[in-house]
């Protein structure tokens, strides 16, 4: 009928306009870069050709790096599963005390940049270890730091991503109805039998999800193999791409595009295997009820607690201590004592070194921009996904996962391909500006904001919005005056998650930075590559303090958040 009220028409125009705006935005951030990369792989430089492909596939370096990537990612995942899985079972199913504090500490490595973890562990071992010197146990000069090796990379990948397995498994255990455990116990099974025959089989989905997540993250990790592998010329795919691009410039873009597609394919294979394994059996849990009553450890409780905290101290406090001790000495190799201890390194990186000072501003501004813009996108986006049940946006919701599921170098290369040439119509190029990094952050971390905001919506009573609608408020007004205040806690949590991740990242910016657009990750990396471990340590220590401070600040409003939004909160 053509005689619709003018106001009705206006409402429809606003809603449709907003919906399509979001569709284009999300497609532009997810499908466009990945599509551009695939296009480059098929048609390098715009022409269908297999010469680049042949060149890359014929190179033995490609296959060495692929093999290295697979070995470190798989072995790192196994280690992470053993550690994270055990800890998740113990903390979720038994009556240990101080669970919240332990969760916070155990999840902390996940929030600390991988390159900082690598740097910290490097300071722990090796002939120049300030900490080992302090206790007189440093190996002889000239001996090799044992971490500069494949095993070193595997160890650190395992420690870095054990929290991922811990978190997915823990979420699964929390959803496990207590009746299932109690039924097993009532049937006469011992707690260990119940664990083996009931709990673990039902935990297959979260476990497999955790394994897949862990594998993909290990595969795409750049910081750890960059710090531990490059010095010993042990290359994995992300570091190979970095070296090619850093050494030869954008001329080899087609080749690195193919390399990054190779990582992308391996990552996708990992995700598909996960899908396949979960489809084979029925893991559905029929009842929902409160969490299981913890198993009593009895006289084993204190020893188990001691063991857990020892693990936490070993993987958290010790490396950080290594980092701190190195940051306090005047020059690498000088022993730390009351006479040599100095804060000069901190003063240097905070106040003197131009690039480091710039990096603070850059990282802060870019991370904050990404966090704010993503929240502004995700609040209306989640509205359409959750409440309007827009099928189009549900598909795009999956698309939004893509840039995050893909290793960071893949997205970085895609961004270079997109923005190397000047933008059509506008005539200027984003390449070598901070905007290319901001774009990559937006694309990569969109889903980090979307997930908590979607769960925020799921927790809301929709009648709150409907009441505003009946009161005459249009969509934009409802979003601003009703919905945004109500999802604000989830939005803030999402924004913080994005900020922390972007603030600590290196993978994307290592490939996209230029003089003037350094990020903190890049500067730490440059210091370490230039042999300035003391500056690198000081700067890394500062980022760790900022990270932990922001994480702790979230505990102030944590009670208002849906469960599971903040990984470090139980």
């Amino acid at each position: 009928m053509s005689l619709a009220d003018a106001s009705t028409t206006r409402t429809r125009v606003v809603e449709t306009g907003l919906l399509w705006g979001l569709v284009f935005l999300v497609a532009g951030l997810s499908l466009l870069p990945i599509g551009r990369l695939v296009f480059e792989g098929l048609a390098p430089g715009g022409q269908l050709s297999t010469s680049s492909l042949g060149k890359v596939l014929a190179s033995p370096t490609t296959w060495t790096a692929t093999a290295n990537s697979l070995v470190t990612a798989i072995a790192g995942t196994v280690l992470a599963v053993l550690l994270g899985g055990t800890v998740a079972l113990v903390t979720s199913l038994t009556d240990i005390r101080a669970r919240n504090a332990f969760t916070f500490c155990f999840v902390l490595p996940l929030m600390i940049a991988p390159q900082v973890t690598a740097l910290a562990w490097l300071q722990l071992f090796g002939p120049s270890s300030t900490l080992l010197k302090l206790i007189g146990m440093a190996p002889a000069l000239g001996s090799r730091n044992p971490l500069y090796s494949r095993e070193g990379i595997i160890l650190l990948l395992g420690l870095q991503y054990a929290p991922l397995v811990f978190l997915t498994l823990r979420a699964g255990l929390r959803a496990l109805p207590k009746e299932l455990i109690e039924a097993g116990l009532a049937a006469g099974a011992s707690p260990l039998t119940v664990l083996r025959t009931v709990v673990l089989p039902l935990m297959t989905p979260p476990l497999i999800a955790g394994i897949a997540l862990c594998f993909v993250s290990s595969l795409g990790n750049f910081g750890i193999p960059a710090f531990l592998g490059i010095p010993g010329n042990f290359l994995v795919l992300p570091t190979l791409i970095y070296q090619r691009l850093a050494g030869l410039g954008p001329g080899v873009l087609s080749e690195v595009a193919i390399l990054s597609l190779l990582i992308g394919v391996i990552a996708m294979a990992g995700i598909l295997v996960q899908d396949f394994m979960l489809r084979r059996r029925d893991f559905r849990i029929t009842t929902t009820s409160s969490a299981a009553r913890p198993f009593e450890l009895g006289r084993w409780r204190t020893p188990v607690e001691i063991l857990l905290w020892t693990v936490a101290i070993l993987i958290l406090a010790l490396p950080f201590l290594g980092l701190i001790t190195t940051s306090l000495i005047p020059a690498f190799g000088v022993p730390l004592n009351a006479r040599t201890a100095t804060l000069a390194n901190y003063a240097y990186v905070l106040f003197e070194h131009a690039a480091a000072k710039r990096a603070f501003v850059n990282s802060f501004v870019m991370s904050a921009t990404a966090a704010i813009v993503i929240v502004l996108i995700c609040v209306p986006l989640a509205y359409f996904i959750v409440w309007k049940k827009s099928r189009l946006l549900r598909l795009l919701n999956m698309a939004a996962e893509l840039p995050y599921a893909m290793p960071g170098v893949v997205l970085a290369i895609a961004a270079i391909l997109l923005f190397l040439k000047p933008l059509p119509l506008l005539g200027f190029s984003l390449y070598n500006t901070i905007w290319i990094i901001v774009f990559a952050y937006l694309a990569r971390f969109l889903v980090l904001g979307l997930r908590p905001i979607v769960s925020g919506y799921l927790q809301l009573d929709r009648t709150l919005e409907e009441a505003a609608q009946i009161a005459g408020a249009g969509l934009v007004r409802r979003l601003v005056t009703i919905i945004f205040p109500l999802v604000a806690p989830a939005a803030v949590a999402g924004a913080l998650l994005i900020f922390l991740t972007a603030f600590n990242e290196l993978t994307v910016s290592a490939l996209l930075w230029t003089s003037g657009t350094e990020t903190l990750g890049v500067v730490v990396f440059s210091f370490e590559q230039g042999g300035d471990s003391t500056y690198a340590s000081a700067l890394a220590a500062v980022t760790v303090v900022v990270t932990i401070g922001l994480m702790l600040s979230t505990l102030l409003f944590a009670s208002k958040l849906p469960q599971g939004v903040l990984p470090w909160r139980d």
């Binding site: 009705t8 409402t11 009573d461 009648t463 009441a467 009946i470 005459g472 408020a473």
Partner: protein, 359 residues
């Protein structure tokens, strides 16, 4: 001008028919209750009137303004109606006054006019002095009143109430019922009240629309609904009616006819156009039975007694058809115990005009 007219409204969820040709005319200023068990389509109907869902067929108009049809859909924000939600839906980040003022702000009403109307609305629901409170600090009844004030402050031509008392405890319900009724008298607003509670509907409404499985079964005043249910479903649902097969014996005379039921003859109320012969169904209420001597009337065996305070509810089975269960009220002390045989006389009843669809 505020006449709400729902004309053959249809709504499907997949293959499920949630609204099946529902037609309903609500007069200006009328208080209509939509009554039905959960899943009967009453909430779907409310959401159609409010405009939260789109109609698959038929149309909804208020006055001469077409709001919903399969081609046209005025969004809820332009319908100028009010809703009191079952969950109250008060915005937790605003205080009471801000909640109430919201609709006025949206409509462009500014202080001091806005403040004056908010104060008047709060006064009307007896919440003067609560303006600065957060909804979280109010009791259930107070929240309900805020929701009412919020919905009425913009003076909507039509107010929808979605099970507004369902979340309140029993003694609060009675006082809120009174409040709604007083309210309706004072404002003269057209109200559509969704409920599953027939006592509530009976107490409040001018007319009641009974719904079942997406269909409107009967629309009538509470008294007519109780006394003259249109079909077996309504008869069974309202007032705990017993439905029994009967044979018609005479043509209606002054609204009554003779029937044979449970082997005895009885006089029932009926429609003037009721056929004079054939099979029919009748609706009996507990109070239509009188207990008489064992050898008079219908012989029935007492199954069980349950004490209701002052009287007993007695379940009995006629000796001649022991699968039929009847219930009646017996005064205290109980005239008979379980296993005893009593006699029953039927003093009144209603011949159901529409044959049972299921039969």
């Amino acid at each position: 001008m505020a006449r709400l007219k729902i004309d053959r409204a249809r709504k499907y969820f997949g293959s499920y028919t949630a609204l099946d040709d529902v037609s309903l005319d609500v007069e200006d200023g009328e208080f209509i209750a939509v009554l039905g068990a959960s899943g009967c389509g009453k909430t779907t109907l409310l959401r159609q009137i409010a405009g939260f869902d789109k109609l698959d067929g038929g149309q909804i108009t208020i006055g001469d303004r077409l709001l919903s049809s399969s081609e046209r859909h005025v969004p809820p924000e332009h319908r100028k109606i009010g809703i009191v939600f079952q969950s109250y839906a008060l915005w937790p980040h605003m205080n009471v006054a801000e909640n109430v003022a919201y609709g006025l702000t949206v409509a462009g009403v500014r202080d001091p006019e806005r403040a004056r109307r908010v104060a008047a609305a709060l006064d009307l629901v007896g919440l003067t002095g609560f303006a600065e409170r957060r909804p979280g600090l109010l009791s259930g009844g107070q929240r309900q009143r805020v929701a009412l004030a919020r919905c009425l402050v913009t003076e909507p031509s039509l107010v929808l109430l979605d099970e507004p008392l369902a979340n309140l405890d029993v003694h609060l319900r009675a006082s809120m019922e009174e409040e709604f009724s007083r309210f309706h008298e004072r404002t003269g607003t057209t109200m559509v009240y969704i409920t599953h509670d027939q006592a509530e509907a009976m107490a409040l409404a001018d007319r009641i629309a009974v719904m079942d499985r997406g269909r409107l079964l009967q629309l009538a005043t509470p008294s007519l609904l109780y006394r003259e249910p249109a079909n077996a479903t309504v008869a069974g649902f309202i007032g705990d009616g017993m439905i029994l097969p009967a044979r018609l014996l005479s043509k209606p005379e002054a609204g009554r006819c003779k029937v044979e039921v449970l082997g005895v003859e009885a006089v029932m109320r009926c429609r003037p156009d009721q056929p004079a012969a054939g099979h029919a169904q009748i609706c009996l209420r507990a109070r239509d039975f009188a207990i008489v001597q064992e050898n008079e009337g219908i012989a029935a065996r007492v199954d069980r007694l349950s004490y209701q305070g002052g009287f007993f509810r007695m379940e009995v089975r006629p000796v001649a058809s022991s699968e039929t269960v009847l219930h009646l009220d017996a005064p205290e002390p109980a005239p008979a115990g379980p296993g005893d045989i009593i006699g029953l006389r039927i003093s009144d009843g209603w011949v159901i005009p529409e044959p049972d669809r299921a039969a």
